[in-house]
Symmetry: C2
Subunit: 365 residues, 2 copies
DNA sequence: CTGAAAGCGCTTACAG
DNA sequence: CTGAAAGCGCTTACAG
């Protein structure tokens, strides 16, 4: 009724004529209280405008009912949707959600995790920016804090994680192109991180089917692998000059790279973009170059973004179940927070190809 | 070095051979300590893997260094960008950011605010879903909690706020159409909330220039007003049957409504969509109807979304400075949290028309 | 079913 | 510059 803050359990107890222990029991909904006492306390509480101080409670219980999420960039539709999926679960359970951006930068990620730990979150969902340098995450896990990895794994860190089968998804996307006759398929991928043996070495090994530890590869590298595998299975040789590494999480950079690919005289007949940001860049380049889809170029994108359905033609794309990914990550985390000792789980979801109109059959000319 | 959690100031103090008060002073960076003592404590702290428990600190200081944001839907690009702007400021200042969705629903908004208050946030940024029923916000403000309103105002609630000049923005957008010869301009707007006198009454008053208290109108209603004003100023009669109220925050609903507008025989020569979601719906309808922009229809959208630049032609739109809006909201809030007693501020930003290629001159046929 | 007491992990006066 | 003591607002045994 009155002042929104200030009133404490002690104030309520005094007004109700009971002990703080009793007032606490009714206000905190624990232990037993006589109905009559309960009403008395409730009346006093509402008269004083009492509101629980979750801080004090958390200090004692050791639980904050708050989880932390470290995302690359909440403005990116990929993360925005996943966050929404997480938020839905979290809100339903009356938990709080603390969000920090990492910008895919290790230092920022470490600072983010520290901030969240100081605020005593009950658990963390992290989309790790580095699959190797992850002391901060290992320590976390060693200390017993519930942790769920999102989209990416960390070498040697056995914790719950949620992602899609990137290799299979990319393979299916590229198969859709190969099966309609395309033989020269360009790829525009982030592939920011360095790989042992370098870019060329990786491709060579991928072509030979020699890449073994694929689990801790970054998504865009895994998708490249799917691209290579599709070719290998189809017995189609790969022109490696059609594989373009952008090396940055930026649509602008992707557009510049895509441009050099689609404006060359012997341009590919089709392009595969390995994520939403790359897709934006590629579509920008296509638009700038004035190429018609799918007549002059076929295109398969990744992630189902708003615009893909209302461009004309619609853009065929591998749709990741982003909301469901967020839901799964939050659900796994909350289960751990509630004490689940189940073996480590990897929720590997499936991305589905949504066929719209950006793939045309291709006949050698 | 060791266990990530557990070690307390008392543990560190014991190991360092000092009092908890002294250990607290060095670990919490307050008060004076001899350099030698400091080092001793630091060594003990790192040996134990000490980490501040912000909860305990907050309980005493009364400050959590955390702000709360209640947004309509973090998945919507409008909110996603604003949140990013907020997050940037907040992260720079080592504050935490607690985010909750309201889905533009009053009950959810109230619950969200309560959750955030229990967690003792130092301040709140809210995009209120109801400009009248806002007891929860008024109480908050009465209790002295720093509060910044985003995008919308609340009648009679004098607090800092950030938004754009919606009437002027819409007016300029429509003027761009009128000045190129368009005389029949459709409008597709949310206008979910009811207005005194109803939809028709509102339009009548708007046409007569009789709408007075425009400040607490919802953005889409303000934008409708801008549309009407542009016509009035230009001396162009309005065919009110071209004004379409979607009544929902949904691109699908907008598309259905837009469709009935652009498929009628005497369809308008141009359409103005009053926000990002409506814009998506309209572009979907245009695409489904197979109309060519701008040859068969001119279009001005609202909010600069990714796809608007790479559709062909590009979509002309009123761009809201979303990141800057978030930045401003967070900055205002942090100033209040730091104790600023400055008079209430309304940061009214300007939206700029980005002309791309969706407006064609129109000549009566 | 209720209360007195202790305590969560810090910070804050107050002495010295 | 450092320490002993109190206290932030709750919950948790422990008695009764």
């Amino acid at each position: 009724m009155a002042k929104t803050s200030k009133a404490t359990i002690a104030d309520v107890a005094r007004l109700a004529g009971v002990s703080t222990a009793t007032a606490g029991r009714v206000l905190g909904r624990y232990g037993y209280t006589r109905e009559e006492t309960r009403e008395q306390v409730m009346r006093a509480a509402s008269k004083l405008g009492y509101r629980t101080n979750a801080l004090a409670r958390s200090l004692i219980t050791g639980k904050t009912r708050t989880i932390g999420v470290v995302a690359g960039d909440i403005q990116n539709p990929f993360y925005a949707s996943i966050l929404r999926g997480i938020a839905d679960v979290v809100e339903r359970r009356d938990f709080g959600l603390l969000i920090v951006n990492s910008d895919e930068n290790l230092d920022k990620e470490i600072r983010a995790v520290n901030l969240l730990l100081e605020k005593q979150v009950d658990g963390l969902i992290v989309s790790p920016c580095d699959t190797r340098n992850a002391r901060h995450l290992r320590d976390l896990h060693a200390a017993g804090l519930p942790l769920v990895l999102l989209d990416r794994s960390v070498a040697g860190l056995e914790v719950d994680r949620v992602g899609i089968d990137n290799i299979a998804a990319a393979e299916r996307a590229v198969v859709a192109l190969l099966s309609t006759g395309h033989r020269r398929i360009g790829l525009v991928g982030e592939m920011l991180e360095e790989q042992e043996g370098g870019f060329d070495g990786f491709i060579a090994r991928g072509l030979a089917g020699e890449v073994l530890s694929t689990d801790t590869l970054y998504p865009s590298w895994q998708r490249l692998l799917g691209y290579l595998r599709a070719h290998r299975q189809a017995g189609v040789a790969v022109d490696t000059s059609l594989i373009r590494r952008v090396g940055a999480y930026s649509a602008g950079a992707a557009q510049a790279v895509a441009r050099t690919l689609i404006e060359r005289p012997d341009r590919p007949s089709a392009v595969f973009a390995t994520d939403g940001t790359m897709s934006e860049g590629v579509i920008g380049a296509v638009s700038a170059a004035g190429l018609t889809l799918p007549g002059e170029l076929s295109l398969v994108c990744f992630d189902d973004l708003d615009w893909m359905s209302f461009l004309s033609p619609g853009i065929s794309t591998m749709a990741q179940p982003r909301l469901a990914m967020g839901d799964a990550a939050a659900t796994l985390l909350l289960e751990r927070i509630e004490g689940s000792e189940a073996p480590v789980r990897a929720v590997v979801m499936r991305a589905d190809l949504i066929e719209r109109g950006s793939i045309a059959a291709w006949h050698a000319r």
